[in-house]
Symmetry: C2
Subunit: 335 residues, 2 copies
């Protein structure tokens, strides 16, 4: 008697059960091939990015699987948004510990499928591995822009206004709340404020709604992942301009304002903590209003925080009395 080896392996069954339903693109071949195939849109450039989330580094082991899925996809979508690209599809490599709960994967896959549908970014293929540690999720996302129109980091010109979407610092403050149970009381946050900050850390809100407006109005852009200060500095370095930003102008949520009033030192967390997944853009003065209007039609606020100048390739945060803020650690770095 031969044992039949035509049955799917446990790994194949896991892929079929959880991920095949969200691999709706015909080029995904139902996740039953070595690779996926897509015909790229005519006249377009492909925009490609990859970012991973690792348990214990980018999320807490007890974060809900839905949040892990959304964060893993959205941090990649945020890169596409900053480049003015429309999402096309993504690949995902997930590594799971031996003892993962089936319910975990179910929640993960359902949320991933919801986000893939909402952002019109279908799962094209992937890789499923065992992890000797915690869960890791690595996504490579692809978008498209009309040929030659990707919004670069390197395009800012002297005189450009520096704007930022949404509010800054919430995710970093949310992370502090996760680690320090006394912070919410110290900052005199009410429950809604506390929840707002926690949510902003847990589930990023990528700004894909303004991708087309960035192509139209921005001379340069970057998404805020490593902190406003550090990412502003990257934009300045890449563009060969200096940037002066006004601390006072940085848009803050009510929760962040409350925390800052109670503990002025959190300004460093706000400006350097990262994971905002807002977008910094450099915009010629006569285009600021156009960008603002386009963003408003997507219910997104855009705030002017500074200006680019033909000087050092330095980014500074100036207080009301003209002092430049000094940071202990200007940018998030894994090393």
């Amino acid at each position: 008697m031969s044992k039949r080896d035509d049955e799917p392996s446990p790994e194949d069954r896991l892929i079929e059960k959880y991920f095949r339903p969200i691999a709706t693109h015909p080029g995904a071949f139902g996740l039953a091939d070595d690779a996926a195939a897509i015909a790229p849109p005519a006249g377009c450039d492909l925009v490609l990015t990859t970012d991973g989330v690792i348990s214990g580094v980018h999320f807490f082991p007890d974060d809900p699987p839905q949040a892990v899925a959304r964060k893993a996809l959205r941090i990649n979508l945020s890169d596409l948004a900053a480049k003015g690209a429309e999402p096309l599809a993504f690949l995902m490599a997930i590594a799971l510990p031996e003892n993962f709960a089936p319910g975990w994967l179910e929640g993960f896959a359902r949320a991933l499928g919801e986000d893939a549908a909402f952002y019109r970014c279908p799962l094209l293929g992937g890789d499923t591995d065992r992890s000797p540690g915690g869960v890791t999720v690595h996504i490579a996302a692809f978008g498209s822009v009309p040929h030659g129109t990707m919004v670069r980091r390197a395009g800012a010109r002297p005189g450009d206004r520096i704007v930022v979407t949404g509010t800054i610092g919430d995710a970093a403050l949310g992370l502090v709340l996760r680690r320090d149970k006394t912070a919410a009381e110290r900052w005199r946050l009410d429950d809604a404020m506390r929840q707002h900050l926690l949510d902003r850390y847990l589930v990023p809100q990528p700004r894909n709604a303004i991708a087309e407006a960035l192509r139209r109005y921005a001379s340069a852009a970057i998404d805020v992942s490593d902190g406003l200060a550090g990412d502003l500095a990257k934009l300045a370095r890449a563009s060969g301009v200096g940037i002066d930003a006004a601390v006072e102008a940085v848009p803050l949520s009510a929760a962040a304002r409350r925390a800052l009033a109670a503990e002025p030192a959190v300004i460093e967390t706000i400006l350097t903590g990262g994971e905002d997944f807002e977008i910094i853009a450099a915009v010629a003065p006569d285009k600021v209003e156009g960008l603002r209007a386009a963003a408003a039609s997507a219910s997104l606020e855009v705030t002017e925080i500074g200006v680019a100048a033909a000087q050092t390739r330095e980014a500074r945060f100036l207080t009301r009395d003209g002092r430049a803020l000094a940071f202990k650690r200007p940018s998030y770095s894994h090393f």
Copy 2:
């Protein structure tokens, strides 16, 4: 005095030092942007795949960094090869433990750059993270085929001959040698044989040289990553055909033949162990010679091992007396 925050972070410096030199594609923007951009070749489909290697799962923590880099890229190149695709570029996410040695990364990056140049598959972008465990490397690779010509798993037809490149089982036997210090003696391997098997485990040899020939001659293909038996079964399932392969016909290296003669039970390791990164193809009878000749011109042997039939979607290995082999674990599975 303000601390200047215009200096690259340690993470940025690491990227600039080790990875920027191998990101030679202009669309990589010197790894100094949020994403990469490429203009896809006109009239082509993009072929996309992702695979990761994880320390302690896909390689040993003390494997040389050069081998880790080559394995990480080549297992992805092997998927492109099996689909008949020419490599275009890749993205890489690498996570490193806090205490990694700078020399490790130097060796890794140098070998990665050599492979990227050799296979004409430049680094387009990536992500660098801290790993709470060992090193993990996740690569997403992109290739191209003329529109509609990707070689599928699902294309095998009854009557097609089943062929395989190179030799089977070497990597799996090499892995046994790594784990069982007595095996080399038990199998009566000489030093060259032992080294051959170890090398085949350590550094795959993807068969990208026959990608174009596969598009021309193969009706279906898959690369052998989870073991010949399991991957043959996948091809059979996807194509809706049965496959009978002759155990005797499976091409073996001198080292594998020696091990098999000494210990007949290793036939299971050979046929199900995986990581061969050879290519199984289904080929119409009148096209076998064409594929063989094209492969020969790339110094690669192609061996006929079986035939596809319009019956069950089962893959069987038949011994000389017509018995079907039974395997304890027909295919590698992470779960």
